[in-house]
């Protein structure tokens, strides 16, 4: 499984390049859209929550400006959501390749995740700008914490979880096209039950338990903890997510591999 995928790493690279190229072909701004879209989302949410709903004083952001808070949430969330949106139809969109050529089919969802990672990388550069802006223009100041070194671990956990989900969704949609529609509805709901645009905490332990059952909440919280608060995200929820992600990826991959011979027939 791993070895074959490694042998086809060139294919993965080419498919990823294709995804990225195709996304920005025939557009004037090209790759700048990878920056503009999250920036625009940040401005919209900032406007809605601070100007329209005037929520800023009422929720505890730990002293962080809402724009910074929401951007740190949106960045990994967009990566997650766009990876899955691409993956869910990745096999079906490549029907001719699935039925006419042989290659490890994992490459299709993986290339969607990888091309979203590229956008994520570009949009992350903007994060520096956002933090810098608020650091120098407001009385909030950014401090470097040792916990920054933990960020790659958080990112890894997120990627592992995303890839596991991507395998399941791509495969599910191949057999039943319902999956794509169901997914497009659920991903919106999912964003609002995750601490993306507002902090999710409750004084009732049972609710907290439910909130943290959603794997994306501990992940997104962990980004904020490492980056801004300087806390090590070595809590129970994060450990649970890390274990769950690895288990999910393993399970999904094995299932994917076992169903793979059926793909060309059932697509």
């Amino acid at each position: 499984m791993f070895r074959e995928l490694y042998e086809y790493r060139e294919l993965l690279y080419s498919l990823t390049l294709r995804e990225i190229r195709v996304r920005y072909k025939q557009s004037l701004l090209g790759v700048l859209w990878a920056v503009f879209v999250p920036l625009a989302m940040m401005l919209i949410f900032t406007f809605v929550f601070t100007r329209a709903l005037k929520i800023e004083g009422r929720i505890d952001l730990g002293g962080m400006p809402y724009a910074v808070f929401v951007y740190i949430g949106l960045l990994p969330w967009t990566f997650f959501a766009s990876s899955l949106t691409g993956s869910v139809s990745s096999l079906v969109a490549n029907t001719s390749l699935v039925t006419k050529t042989y290659c490890p089919r994992e490459a299709f969802p993986l290339s969607c995740v990888a091309s979203s990672a590229f956008d994520f990388g570009i949009a992350s550069v903007l994060l520096v700008g956002v933090i810098g802006y608020f650091h120098f223009t407001t009385d909030w100041s950014f401090q470097f914490h040792a916990t920054l070194v933990f960020l790659p671990v958080v990112l890894m956990v997120q990627i592992v979880f995303t890839v596991g989900m991507a395998f399941l969704l791509a495969m599910g949609n191949l057999f039943y096209r319902d999956v794509r529609y169901l997914f497009s509805v659920l991903i919106n709901l999912w964003m609002f039950v995750t601490a993306v645009v507002y902090p999710l905490e409750s004084w009732r332990p049972f609710c907290n338990f439910l909130i943290n059952l959603n794997p994306m909440t501990p992940i997104i919280n962990a980004y904020r903890q490492c980056l801004i608060y300087g806390e090590w995200p070595l809590s129970l929820p994060f450990a649970y997510v890390a274990v769950l992600s690895v288990a999910l990826l393993m399970g999904a991959w094995v299932l994917f591999h076992r169903l793979e011979p059926k793909f060309a027939e059932y697509i």
Binding site: Y8, E10, L11, Y13, S14, L15, L17, R18, R21, V22, K25, Q26, N94, S96, L97, V98, T99, K100, T101, Y102, C103, F175, Y176, P261, A264, E265, Y266
Partner: protein
């Protein structure tokens, strides 16, 4: 056997007609059963059929094997099994070596990408590394003849250009085993020839080819041996001319009862000069076609048609409309003999007999390729017509100088 590159052992493949998993009610038990790894049952449900039945064959290193058969015979299914796109329900397939399958040229070309970008993508799909493609891109582009358009998006290409580029990428792979499925249907005659030459080069350089085509000429040019598939079964495997003959006789199965009631041809036999039934002639001899003709209509209204075709390429060698030497008052059956010169060179030929109405061109009897025969010619020669060249020496008279 160390030199066996493909070994196909009793392979069965089942397909289902119509839609699968019409509802959740069917789908969930199916999935559960599949996950429980229930052994594959031999029985077919009502909607299933065998696309391949008990197919076994071996391909040796350096061998070029043709695969022919009518549509729906399972040729492409076989190729997809060999290239691991599908897996067999029963039986085993062992492939020993780097295999490239060319099932559809340009499968996976992305319309928005340029020719160059697609070459890299397609190459990667076929298993080439970027380094290899970097080295060969010049050749690939030149072979396809799209130098001027290589940085244009593929969506602006003509379908022929796309097909040429697609074949070109695959043709510059370096596989040990090449599987080709009817890709010559695209491109003009010149490009088809180029493709054939390229494949012949592969074959001659010790690599193995499995070549599926309806182009019998291409098959016979490229492959010494051919396998005939029909209804998922391997009917025969043998020398290409023999297999083609068998295939053609399947295609033109002559049902005597289907002949028109008033005119019938029966009991067609091909005889040599001594009057023995024969299917192998020496060039320059005479052959005789004997048959029974039953004609209950005015014979002068009809021609007897007689044609010879070379079977490997459908080349029409002779086509005659002969007047029937019968009185109009003739009634009932008659035995006829038709003599002709076998002025032909080495090859496999087929005889077609028909009866044609002189005014309406209607053919109440049409027995296409009713008989086959081979011609063997010892000397080194190529072509169709045996022209019996002779060399004679004539000593020149040397006359006195100056005159």
């Amino acid at each position: 056997m160390s030199d066996c590159v493909v070994q196909c052992h009793q392979v069965w493949k089942k397909f289902t007609r119509g839609e699968r998993n019409d509802s959740l009610r069917d789908a969930i038990p199916d999935l559960i059963r599949w996950l429980a790894r229930r052994p594959v049952s031999d029985e077919l449900t009502k909607r299933q059929f065998w696309a391949l039945r008990d197919v076994s064959f071996q391909l040796q290193r350096g061998e070029a094997l043709g695969v022919i058969g009518p549509n729906g015979a399972g040729k492409s299914t076989l190729l997809k099994l060999l290239s691991r796109i599908l897996v067999p329900n029963k039986g085993s397939i062992a492939v020993n070596g780097r295999l490239t399958a060319l099932i559809e040229v340009g499968a996976g070309f992305h319309q928005d990408l340029t020719g160059r970008e697609n070459v890299y993508l397609n190459g990667a799909i076929l298993g080439m590394t970027r380094k290899e493609i970097n080295r060969r891109i010049g050749e690939i582009v030149e072979f396809a003849g799209v130098e001027e358009f290589i940085d244009t998006p593929v969506k602006r290409y003509s379908s022929g250009m796309q097909a040429r580029l697609g074949f070109s990428v695959a043709a510059h792979m370096d596989p040990e085993i090449l599987l080709v499925d009817e890709v010559l249907a695209v491109g003009d005659a010149q490009f088809q020839q180029k493709c054939l030459d390229r494949m012949r080069f592969f074959a001659n350089s010790g690599r193995s080819i499995i070549f599926i085509s309806h182009n019998l000429q291409a098959v016979s040019e490229l492959c010494p041996e051919t396998m005939l598939l029909k209804n998922g079964q391997c009917l025969m495997r043998g020398s290409t001319p023999e297999t083609i003959k068998h295939y053609l006789s399947l295609v033109h199965e002559h049902d005597e009862s289907s002949q028109s009631g008033t005119i019938q041809i029966r009991r067609v036999r091909l005889l040599d000069e001594r009057g023995c039934e024969c299917s192998r002639f020496a060039a320059g001899t005479r052959a005789k076609l004997a048959f029974d003709l039953q004609i209950d209509e005015t014979p002068s209204r009809y021609f007897l048609g007689f044609a010879l075709k070379r079977i490997t390429d459908d080349l029409l060698v002779a086509d005659y409309n002969l007047d029937l030497p019968l009185d109009d008052s003739w009634q009932g059956p008659i035995s006829m003999e038709l003599d002709f010169d076998v002025n032909l060179l080495t090859g496999a030929y087929g005889v077609t007999l028909f009866v044609e109405h002189k005014a309406t061109y209607h053919k109440p009897v049409y027995l296409d390729l009713i008989k086959f025969f081979d011609v063997a010619e010892r000397s080194a020669c190529a072509g169709v017509v045996h022209v019996s060249p002779q060399i004679t020496l004539k000593p020149q008279l040397i006359t006195a100088a100056g005159s």
